[in-house]
Amino acid sequence: MSYGAALLLLLGGASAMLALSAPVGAAFLAINIIGALQFLGGDAGLSQLVRNMVASVANFTLTPIPLFLAMGEILFHTGVAFRAIEAVERLIQKVPGRLSVVAIVAGTVFSAISGSTIATTALLGTLLLPEMLKRGYEPKMAMGPIIAIGGVDMLIPPSALTVLLGSLASISVSDLLIAGTAPGLVMSVIFVAYILIRAALNPKLAPSDEFVPVHGWERFRPFIIYVVPLVTIFIVVIGSMTAGWATPTESAALGTAATMLVCLAYRSLTWAQLIKSLRGTVAISGAIFFIIIGATTFAQILTFSGATSGVLEWVIGLNLSASALIIGMMVILLILGCFIDQVSMMLITLPFFMPMVHKLGIDEIWFGVLFLICMQFGLLTPPFGLLLFTMKGVAPPHITFNQVAASAMPYLGLGTLVLILVYLWPPFVTWLPAAMGK
């Protein structure tokens, strides 16, 4: 079978089954079964498929996924995260678009202790959005910052999706986690600057609220009590990793334990809340793992069928520069991001992208961050941006999906500036992992 026909069978078949709305994991497994029959020797191939299913998910590098997710779930269900946001709100006073700025700052803090973009968006949307709308904020000014900072959560460690990308693409998970920090923080700063300028130029977008300024110790007290201790969670995750006490994978467990201890110290963690948090964790992790079960064999079958090498040779034959290829890959990711979820994006593209990255000698960490930013945009782009749906879910009924989607657009534009910056200046993301590795 020619590589074109193999490609059509494997990718075309997977796409058809995904379009039918079959669960992504089941769709890939179905194609794996067809592929095993066609390319892996039939009966023997199907037995190998079963063996691969076990090996694909029993993989220590995937351990942080449930653990990072658990951190966000625990902080959310215990209410500790809500108190932290209120503390940040008290700290930020007398700035144009105050509550939008609060959303970005609080979201950045929460990103550093949670590995789930949904948790961050749902948390901020639940707590801040009703208040902003009540105080007369223009809906786009109210929702945009929350959706945008929810996406940034994917870049700032801990991040479950970064771990998954590192694991599937065989890129150092710890380096990738650390590399995402700089673009994530720069995006936060740019978002704040944008809000300040917009609100200053047009105060109607974010009317100054009736917030009674609090002075002295009362202003800083909630921050010190409810936010500063949370920083210890971030320090435990990053510190244990960089100090060499724990591997990146193990640091996720320490971070989760630290989260539980912090919540216990606040007397906020009950048995029921813990079970609820872990149930939520298991649900999201299980859904991701079910897809991963089909991932390894799919990539293997693509290679065995000759599709991967065929595509690679075809692309190399085009004599495009490495820069043009990377731009092409990013465009593909941006288009896919409009229609499919982040895990499926990785599964479909990585078997083709990573051999090209290796062949062209492209820095894996740099490429990984570009990949992450493109996936982050996929969370915000209509018609199927996940965070748009999350926001629609927590917004009042009169807010339309179009309003939600429109609110994210300016932040997509600003994010694109950071994407260009990362593309043009790789040391922006590679220096920190290199410095910490010394």
Partner: protein
């Protein structure tokens, strides 16, 4: 039929609770290993391997439960956009595909398990145990997932489930 579905649902819920317990176990073992290793130089050698099997157990235990809750990731863009009768047919085919996939994996999962048992194969890493222990849960989990795919198709036929309902997603 409803009584059977309820019984299976209870079973899935128990599996989900096992998944919760497994996350707790994984957390406890890794933390204990790191603390002991750094304080006493003697860690829990098997901790990485235990964590790996925990991930495998989570994946299998939650598969039928997530399906029953419509929480598996799926791309429902097209099914939500087409007229209802078309969406119904698409979802029905998707359920049949799921049923076929899981049934195949039950068969081959059982085959690999039995072959491993007959060959007295061992897993020799930091722990040593018969390899078939590792494979045995797979056909069981796939059987339950196949049953749930069947229930979904039946619920679609009887009108208890509407095609095109939005499902969960991940990030």
């Amino acid at each position: 039929m409803k009584a059977i579905q309820r019984a299976f649902q209870r079973l899935y819920d128990v599996f989900a609770l096992i998944g919760v317990a497994v996350v707790g176990l994984m957390l406890a073992v890794i933390c204990a290993d790191v603390v002991l290793r750094n304080l006493t130089n003697i860690g829990i050698e098997q901790s990485s391997e235990i964590a790996e099997y925990c991930l495998y157990v989570i994946a299998l235990m939650t598969a039928p439960w997530l399906l029953s809750q419509s929480q598996h990731i799926r791309i429902d863009a097209l099914v939500a956009a087409v007229p209802y009768p078309v969406a119904w047919v698409m979802e029905f085919i998707a359920d049949l595909i799921g049923l076929g996939v899981c049934s195949t994996l039950v068969w081959y999962g059982a085959k690999v398990t039995l072959a491993s048992q007959a060959g007295h194969s061992l897993v020799i890493k930091s722990m040593i145990f018969p390899e078939w222990w590792l494979f045995a849960p797979l056909p069981l989990a796939m059987f339950l997932t196949a049953v749930e795919f069947l229930f979904r198709a039946i619920r679609l036929i009887t009108g208890e489930r509407r095609a095109g309902a939005t499902t969960a997603n991940i990030a």
